[in-house]
Symmetry: C2
Subunit: 470 residues, 2 copies
């Protein structure tokens, strides 16, 4: 995949002009066409160039989203859903122009059913907002990508994060969705029952569809009880391989670890300085356990025995909230600390995921590749799931560096697929990874294409993403 | 829904004759057309009449399934996948005739990756066979419907069972599938990574599609570690409502209960006699906890405190395997014991699932309905998920009784949907529940229909199931 491979989408100037008029008329101040706002709605956190939409609408209800989609359908104009813009693969870009549907005004928590451990939210609610809202209920929403993403965006990209190893991903935690389809109709994909065998799983079809099959306007989510006790800590290892072996043993023992994160030596160096951590500059596992007082102590002790067996250094753990908070803040600040390794550079993030038995090998080959190609690229990973991130620090003004980084990413993605893994564990395909999906799923992409054509025959929903249409 | 509503599928006599010739020629003894074998392949465990296929093929490889589907596609003849025939809603019936694809010769465990906690099996492997195969690995496959179903069938109906509350359903435990699509092409829906954001979730689309989108020929499943310790027991309650309240409190406390099953008073009466259980004839919860020695003891004790708070009687629990086995055998024999309540009758099973906060109310209304309608119908339920079964014991020779039972089921299904639940938690729609899907999902059914038409334009894969095509 190179920038030159980005799929082009032809602009329908007449249609766009018509829709701009209709939406201005209908939404007044809630429809904006100023350049900086438009560009902000196509900004990407990577180096993929901005492709701005022609206008940004701020609907407040499902019905208003329907009006927008109907106008766009009638005039064959692209519609791109927008949460907070924290996606990483150009998901919110508008290669053929069109209308960005900003969901920030759809930010109500509609209902919390504490007895059922579920809630229903509008798509613009962010995960931090939801957890603040839930504060007094004894419940929380566990899915935790780095960014304070919108829940609509998280559903659309099938996001996960540090505690997916215990709580699953958005795939597992969305009970039901309401979405506006390409023809402006509204679908609700399920009810609040915890399980169902009623027909095709439309919920899971929309989760991860990146706005290409429908615009999500309501989400019913599973919640978890705030654990009675939490313990956590850090354990250094001489090598990444030994750390990975300890992870495999932990999972196989059935220890219900809530988080188990690998930080490699280079990333530890950055975190020591940036986050003032007092650990060796070697690969480390950051872990967290959730359960009863006795349970988390038992889990931490068993984990300590496992790490010792695999060459781990002293495993220091604590149940003191402040000490754990410092560790996890450092982990969440990994992106920012890694930027200090090369001031002025921007980070290109990757997110391959492999079977855990191949993880050590995959990371080792990747570290060798980084060294051989002369890149500065620290690694952190949700290793309980076999998922890790390489952050390639590059000078985005230097085409040679971009080309080299792209070559590295292509090799990394192919390596993951060769090891029976995926090029994307949690970021999605967007524009950035379109070149890798065929490699991974082959004829499966034809099936996706057939579904897309059946549900969005005019290709107006987020065109130019996930796969080329022909 | 009444029997008269079963969807008809027109027979294509010319096509069927052509395919019978082709498959006889190609498969020899592995293609059978004898009447009793054909009828056995359409037998249902309910009262839905048998609609036999015209021939039964016994393929051994994905390629052979492709050959069958291609022949059927060319001549526009229905293809119906068959596992062991334990589905409950007429899934394997052939309303327009056609070819039954019996997967019993596709019964190899292809690969077990112990480190990754996954395995790959052919669709004809049953869950008991798989667990026997895994015996020495320290791993097991947790999904446990009553019957010893084939794993292909379990995936196709999105099956679950007693321990879904802890381990999830087939939706959560299939990592990837290989399927032969309606045009004879082969799709593999994913790789072995534990999570992925690579495009549409084709795995979840095929899980629960009841053979209408593809014929599953290989399944990669998640496995779980055999718990170090298991504890379990039974607790009687004065009322179903109090039992349900205890369940809600247990789930809210975050106790990772592995099984929590409700048995109502009538079902307990049957089990006392049939399975020689020494418990009161009142609603009971059967529970099981998985974890470390200390963990399961702590869980059982906390559960005992909860049940006492909600009016439960003495909670007797044990970690002795033989004693637990007796309890769970009684639970699994619930179907057989309930038949003793009315000798000569057949059971019509239902499987609604509601949000747990509505469970007590839903069961209470249902018990009142049973009394008012004069039915004999015991209740058991996977109540941690809000899922329960009513087994209506009826004389299938008496049309008036059938009509009455159908009326009861229709009222039950509507009640569940009204309470934001589903008409089917785990059995699927098949033929038997086609009348209820619209009520539950409305326009969602149109979306399913569009997907079906896109992926199987000739409607040859298990026609006449889930929803009418127009």
């Amino acid at each position: 995949m190179a920038l030159s491979d980005l799929q082009t989408v032809e602009r329908n100037e007449t249609g766009i002009a018509a829709v701009l008029g209709i939406l201005k008329q209908r939404f007044g101040e809630r429809f904006q066409t100023g350049q900086s706002l438009r560009e902000q709605h196509a900004h990407t956190t990577t180096y993929i160039p901005v492709q701005a939409p022609d206008g940004v609408a701020f609907p407040e209800t499902t019905e208003e989203v329907q009006e927008i989609v109907r106008a766009c359908a009638e005039h064959r104009v692209p519609v791109i859903a927008f949460g907070v813009g924290s996606s990483l693969e150009g998901h919110v870009n508008a290669p053929g122009g069109g209308i960005s549907v900003d969901t920030s005004r759809m930010n109500r928590v509609k209902e919390v059913n504490a007895q059922d451990l579920d809630c229903t939210v509008e798509p613009g609610v962010t995960r931090v907002e939801l957890n603040e809202y839930l504060r007094d209920t004894g419940l929380f929403f566990p899915i935790d990508p780095g960014a304070n993403a919108s829940l609509g965006g998280m559903a659309a990209t099938r996001a996960s994060g540090t505690n997916a190893v215990r709580y699953g991903t958005m795939r597992d935690n969305v009970l039901s969705l309401t979405a506006v389809m390409a023809d402006g109709s509204v679908v609700t994909t399920g009810r609040r029952a915890k399980k169902s065998s009623a027909g095709y799983d439309l919920t899971r079809l929309l989760v991860g569809s990146e706005g290409t099959l429908g615009i999500i306007t309501s989400i019913t989510l599973k919640l978890a009880g705030i654990p009675q006790a939490v313990s956590g800590g850090v354990c250094p290892f001489p090598t990444v391989e030994q750390a990975c072996e300890a992870v495999i043993a932990t999972i196989q023992m059935g220890i219900p670890v809530a988080r188990i994160e690998l930080v490699n030596a280079l990333q530890m160096r950055a975190m020591k300085t940036y986050s003032h951590l007092d650990y060796p500059e070697s690969p480390c596992l950051f872990v967290e356990f959730h359960g009863s007082e006795a349970g988390v102590a038992e889990q931490a002790e068993t984990f300590g025995e496992i790490t010792a067996e695999y060459g781990g250094g002293a495993f220091q753990w604590t149940t003191v909230a402040e000490e754990r908070a410092k560790l996890w803040k450092a982990r969440h600040d990994a992106y920012w600390s890694s930027l200090t390794l090369r001031p002025g550079a921007r980070g290109l993030s990757t997110d391959v995921c492999v079977p855990i038995s191949r993880l050590a090998e995959c990371i080792a080959e990747t570290e060798a590749d980084i060294a051989e190609m002369g890149l500065i690229a620290p690694i952190v990973g949700h290793v309980g799931d076999g998922n890790f991130h390489v952050l390639v620090l590059m000078d985005v003004e230097d085409p040679a560096e971009i080309a080299l980084s792209e070559k590295f990413v292509a090799r990394l993605n192919s390596r993951a697929v060769r090891m029976d893994g995926t090029c994307t564990g949690e970021h999605g395909i967007g524009q950035g990874k379109m070149g890798f999906l065929d490699q991974e799923l082959g004829h499966g992409v034809d099936v996706m294409r057939a579904i897309k054509k059946a549900l969005d025959p005019q290709n107006i929903l987020n065109p130019g993403k996930i796969f080329p249409l022909s």
